[in-house]
Structure formats: C-alpha cells, structure tokens
C-alpha cells in the first residue's frame, strides 16, 4: 500500500503542495490530471525526494514504512520509481552501464550479490524486446542525443529493469507517436501486476484508453479536488478543468 497523507511542500516560500492525500492499493492504477502548474510534477519530485523541496510536511508511507526522511537513492531502492517528465542527459555515461549500476545498487540495498554480467545481458535483451527497442541504445550515453520519444521509452526500459513497487509516470505519453504510445502502454500493462502500484500523470484521456485506471484524480493548486472512476477523465475531456474548479470551492 502506498499512502500519501496531507503532503505540503513549498519552494522559495511559495506553497506548491497544499495538503495532498492519496492512497494506492497494490494492483491499482491511479491517474492524476490537472492544469499546467497545478503541482503534478512537484508531487512526483517530493515523493522521490528531490532536494529542491526542503522539509516537506505530511506522510508518505510504503507498506507502512515512512519514506519521507529517506535519501532519494534509498527511496528508489525501497521500490519507488519516477519516470521523469523531462529525463536528464548524462553525457559520457553509457546506458547499459548506468542500468547495471542502478540494478546492482538495488541488489546491494537488499543484501543481494551483484548480478552476473551474462544474466544481466539476457535480462536487458528481454526487456528491449518488450519495448521494441534496438540494442544500439545500450551503448549510447544516457538520454544524450535521444529524441523526445526515445527518452520516454528509455524511462520505461529502466522501469522494467528495476522492477519497482511504486511507479510514477510523469507525462510519459507526451511526445510519443501513436505507435510508440501503443508499445509503451503495452509494456506498462505487461508490467502491471497485483503487487504494483502505479500513478499516471497525464493531460490526455487517450493514454487512459490504453492503460485503464482504477481511479482518476483531478488536481488543482496542489491538492486533489475530485476523484472518481475512469469516466471522470472523459467528462474532463469534455468540459475542461473550469467545470471542476467551481464544484470545489
């Protein structure tokens, strides 16, 4: 179970998250939709421990364990994965080496031995196939020179490799062409299982046709203002955010 309770975060004395609560049960997919600047990426960053947001208030618990005081790498190794809205380039660091480091960091965290290089090879090849990605990506520097869509796909490759419990997908669909969207959605559906908890941040109902959420939340001004089932996304598409603003206050 992944629980966020009354989360508050600010930057430079500006409040961005204003007491946000959200609970995702194992096996569930939740979607968050909300206007630009409403704090969706901030939520993702605060969950994963971004240093820009100092001392957020509230609780974030994974299976009852408070993770809000953990370092970002510890949270990751506890099983929290963020697919970035804007994945970062790391020139000079080779993609497969990066993945291996990340993989082994988790192994180490769990007191497991490092993965055998051959096992790693075959694991990565299997995941590449799921995503229909070329092996050539592995020898390129992390995200460096990747197209927007390739970067997004690379995020999902990392997710498949690291096999996290909690996944936050921050606008993973933006920038993907129609075929890529289908492939990435298939990969996420393939990844989904009864113990995974998935939070999808998106602006488009289209993605939710591929990955069907159990719950849809609408976010405004750093809070969840309305939650409902998947039909909420359709209503939203129809009526826009304004319709929900009024309802709230």
């Amino acid at each position: 179970m992944f629980e966020i309770k009354d989360l508050k975060a600010s930057i430079e004395e500006k409040d961005i998250l204003n007491g946000l609560s959200l609970t995702i049960k194992p096996g569930e997919i939740h979607a968050i939709m909300g206007p630009n600047g409403s704090g969706k990426s901030t939520l993702a960053k605060v969950i994963s421990g971004h240093p820009d947001f100092e001392d957020p208030e509230g609780d974030i618990k994974l299976d009852g364990k408070d993770i809000l005081d953990l370092e970002p790498d510890e949270r990751a190794n506890e099983g929290v994965f963020l697919a970035f809205q804007y994945p970062v380039d790391i020139p000079g660091v080779n993609n497969s080496e990066f993945l291996r480091m990340a993989y082994n960091a988790k192994q180490k965290y769990q007191n497991q031995p490092e993965i055998d290089p051959f096992d790693f090879e075959s694991l990565i090849k299997e995941k590449l196939t799921v995503l229909n990605m070329k092996e050539a990506f592995l020898s390129r520097p992390v995200n460096h020179g990747f197209s927007g869509g390739e970067k997004k796909r690379n995020e999902i490759l990392q997710m498949l490799m690291l096999d996290p419990r909690v996944v936050i997908l921050d606008e993973t669909d933006s920038g993907l062409d129609i075929d890529s969207l289908k492939q990435v959605s298939d990969a996420i559906n393939h990844f989904k299982s009864e113990n995974k908890m998935i939070l999808i941040i998106t602006h488009y109902q289209r993605l939710l046709n591929h990955i069907v959420p159990d719950t849809v939340h609408i976010m405004a001004d750093g809070k969840i203002t309305k939650s409902g089932d998947k039909s909420l996304a359709l209503t939203l598409e129809d009526q826009g955010y304004d319709a929900f603003k009024d309802n709230q206050s």
Binding site: S48, G49, H50, P51, D52, E71, P72, D73, A76, N77, F81, L82, F84, P87, V88, D89, I90, P91, G92, V93, N94, E97, F98, M101, A102, A105, K106, Y109, P141, Q158, L162
Partner: protein
C-alpha cells in the same frame, strides 16, 4: 544533500600523507655554486655533468620566475630549501633488493609498490626514488636480456656517459625556462631508459617518486630514448607526506623517438595537495616535459592524470620533427579545495604530414582554479599537417573556475586544425536522476566524472587505468553533501 553544499567539502584524509622515519643525509639549505658542486660530488659525477650544472646555474641567475600562468602563490624563497636529501646509505653497496632498508621497503609497500623480489608487480618494472636517490629498480636483469636499459639517472651517467652526453639537454635545454634551468643546476636522480633498435620493451616501465624530507626540493630528470623501430610504455607515479610548508618539485623529462619508434608516457600525479580547509602546504609542481619525434613516423604520446599538488605548472609537449610523426596529449586534471592547475601542451609541427591530437579534461571542484593552456604551432615546413584539439571543462559546485587558452600559430596553408571545446556543469538534476535510480550521490558523481574522462582513461595502460579511476573517486569522496 545538494550540489549547493559542494563548498562545504569534508576533509578526505590524504592517504599517502605519512612520513617515513629514517635518517636523512641533507646538504645544508640554500643555493649557490658551492651547493651545486656539493651535489655533484655526492653523486661522484664526471666533469661534463658538473660543467653542465654550473652553466645552468649561471644562466638561472639571469632569469626571472615566469608569472604568466593563472596561478597565485607566495614568492618562493629558493635559499630556504634543501637541494639534496637522501636516506643514509649503508657503507657497503647493496647486493640485492633484500638489502634495501626495511623501513624504505615498508614505505613503498604502503604506497602499493612492493620492491621485494617475490612480491614485485607483475609485468611492471619499477624504479623507486625516495627524495634525491633511487632506492631500487626491479626486473633490471630481465630487461637487460632484451638490451633495454632501465636504471637510475646517476647510474646511467656512470655507465653510459656517451648516451647522456648526446641526449641530456637536447630536448629541454638548460636555457628553456626558469624551472628547467634550476633543475639542470641541481637535479638529483631520475630514471634513464634506453630501448635499442627493433625492440619492443617487454614490460611496462615505471618510476615512483616519493618526496619524504621536509623543506626539500625534488629535482629529478628523466631521459627516455627509443631507437629505430622500438616501443616503450612508461609510467610515473608520485606522492608526498603532508607538511604545512610547501615543497618544490621541478622536474625535467626528455623523450627522444627515432624512426618508427613510439614512446607512451603516462603520469598519475598525486602529490600532496595541501590542507583541504586552509590550503596550507602541498607540492608546488613546476615540471618541464618535452618529447622530440626526431625520426620519420615516430610517435610520442603523453597521458596525464593530475590529481594532486597545490600548484601544477606543466605542459608536456611534442616537437614533431620527423615527417609523418605523431604527437598526442591526453589529460585529466582534477582540482579540488584550494588547488590551482595551469596545464596543457604544446605541439610544434616541423616535419611534413605530422599529426597531433590534444584531449584535455579539466574538472574543478571546491574553490579550485583549473586552466588549460595549449599551443599548436605549424611551421612553414609542416605541410599537410593536422591537429585536433578538444578541451572540455567540468564544473562541480559554484565556487570553482575553469579557463581555456588555446593558442594557434599556423604558418602554412595546407595544414588543418580542428577544435572543440565544451564546459559542462554537473547539475543537481543529473545527480538527482541517478539517485532516483538507486545510485548513491557519490557513485553518481564518480560515474559522471569518469564518463567525462573516458576518452583519456582509455589511453592509460590497463594496469593503471583502474588505479586512476579509483584515485579520482577517492578525490571526489565527500565532495557532496
């Protein structure tokens, strides 16, 4: 933890900062003609060396310390230094390595350089130099079977005076610069390498320099000669104890490559850098390194990993005289805390169709200053020559700085130059991205820096590439958070 806190760099203890307690024979402080004669006498040198020294000393007196580098340090008092320090020798000559003072052997062992016959580094011959004298040279006999000479400079003066006469000062004349003149006057020890015709040196050669005595200058000279169709890969390493006072190191390295010969010279420099907090102490490293590609199709390749010293002033250069000769310079210079480095290279193209490559990676952390200074000169005679230069800087934190000064002087129309430069800042976003994948901040930083330096590391002999990588990660430890 965040990048903003880079400035609060914790003190990583310098691992090699210990001092060996050993009786040291010193020549009194100061520099004058008499001292120069005394140094010469200590080494039982032939007259031509003494004359060379005296000529250099007289010239030095007419020179001024250069001040064009972007380095800021208090004036050096050349009269306040010892110019000769040696661990006291036993009366009898050493018969084998096992006669080396156990305290010295322990010292080198602690530095990772075992001198015992049984424990020697596999496939690396080492000349271990402690202050002003060579302590031991391993694998000498094995090398001799191939005709390869690898010995302390003083021994070469004694045994191979003709070679010394012919080549010493032929690449770096005593008039070259202030520090070269000083070295030529007072040099003590160094390594000598001679690879005969048609010989591939069967192992890596390595000299390990250790400054131990306080307030002592180290002035070694290295001379490497590769005859036609020969090859050698040579590596130097260096460390020094921690002292509050600065120690002066002014070395000369001369390389000569004849037809079709290749010299690969690698340095992993880890002199004491001074106190991380106050900047007190540390080595002043003023070094003149130059190679002459005399022969056709000869090649000289410099690779340096500069991580230590309070001050680094160093420009390993190539004179590309033979047609079709090649010069290379690959450099990683990491400065942290209060370190200052002004380093680069000079490629002088003289022969036809000569090629040079320069890859420089400067990494600045803390309050350090890191400067690349390079010159590519293509003479009128150097038709159809080529140079490619890439100098990249990486900044970690907000208090450090990086500068690049690439000078170009082309005097013919058929040559070609390519230049690339980039400055990258390790961003908080990059580190966070790595951390979000479970990689710790330090590992992330090391990985990013190693990635930045990959083009240079791959030039190092494999035995030392690992060492260099580890050294860098050590240097970066505690630089975050």
């Amino acid at each position: 933890m965040s990048l903003k806190e880079f400035s609060d760099i914790a003190n990583k203890e310098y691992e090699y900062g210990f001092k060996t307690d050993i009786k040291t024979e010193l020549i009194e402080k100061g520099l004058n003609e008499d001292i120069v004669r005394k140094i010469s006498a200590k080494n039982n040198e032939p007259d031509f060396i003494l004359e060379f020294r005296l000529k250099a000393y007289k010239h030095w007196l007419t020179m001024e310390e250069p001040d064009w580098a972007l380095l800021d340090y208090p004036e050096i008092d050349y009269q306040a230094l010892h110019y000769y320090a040696a661990p006291e020798k036993p009366k009898e000559k050493l018969k084998s390595m096992d006669d080396v003072d156990p305290e010295l052997k322990r010292t080198f062992e602690k530095l990772g350089i075992p001198l015992n016959e049984q424990k020697k580094l596999a496939n690396v011959a080492v000349d271990a130099i402690f202050d002003s004298v060579s302590v031991a040279t391993t694998y000498k006999e094995k090398l001799m079977k191939h005709g390869v000479i690898f010995c302390p400079f003083s021994e070469a003066v004694e045994k191979y005076p003709e070679l010394i006469k012919k080549y010493m000062g032929s690449v770096v004349p005593h008039t070259d610069n202030y520090f070269a003149a000083l070295n030529s006057a007072v040099f003590t020890e160094g390594s000598f390498v001679y690879i005969p015709k048609d010989t591939i040196c069967p192992m890596e050669l390595s000299t390990y320099f250790r400054i131990n005595a306080e307030q002592t200058g180290q002035f070694e000279r290295t001379l490497i000669i590769c005859e036609e169709n020969s090859y050698v890969s040579y590596l130097e390493g260096c460390t020094a104890p921690k002292f509050d006072t600065n120690q002066l190191h002014a070395a000369i390295v001369e390389l000569v490559a004849l037809d079709n010969a290749e010299i690969k010279y690698s340095t992993v420099q880890n002199w004491y850098a001074g106190d991380p907090k106050t900047g007190k102490g540390g080595i002043y490293n003023f070094v003149t390194k130059r190679g002459k590609c005399l022969g056709k199709k000869s090649k000289i390749s410099w690779t340096q990993i500069e991580t230590g010293s309070a001050i680094t002033w160093k420009y390993p250069s190539c004179m590309l005289i033979g047609d079709d000769s090649i010069g290379e310079f690959f450099s990683v210079a990491l400065t942290n805390h209060h370190q200052q480095a002004d380093t680069g290279t000079k490629m002088v193209h003289i022969g036809k169709n000569t090629k040079s490559t320069i890859v420089s990676k400067g990494i600045s952390v803390g309050k350090s200053v890191n400067t690349y200074r390079g010159k590519v000169q293509m003479n009128k005679s150097a038709k159809e020559s080529e140079n490619f230069t890439q100098c990249d800087s990486m900044l970690i934190g907000d208090e450090c700085s990086a500068n690049t000064f690439p000078y170009i002087d082309v005097r013919n129309a058929s040559s070609n130059l390519g230049h690339e430069a980039a400055t990258v800042k390790v961003s908080e976003e990059q580190l966070f991205y790595c951390q979000q994948r479970g990689i710790s901040l330090e590992d992330a930083l090391t990985t990013i820096v190693n990635g930045f330096c990959a083009d240079v590391f791959k030039e190092l002999p494999t035995e030392f590439a690992v060492e260099a990588t580890q050294l860098l990660s050590l240097k970066l430890e505690n630089t975050v958070g």
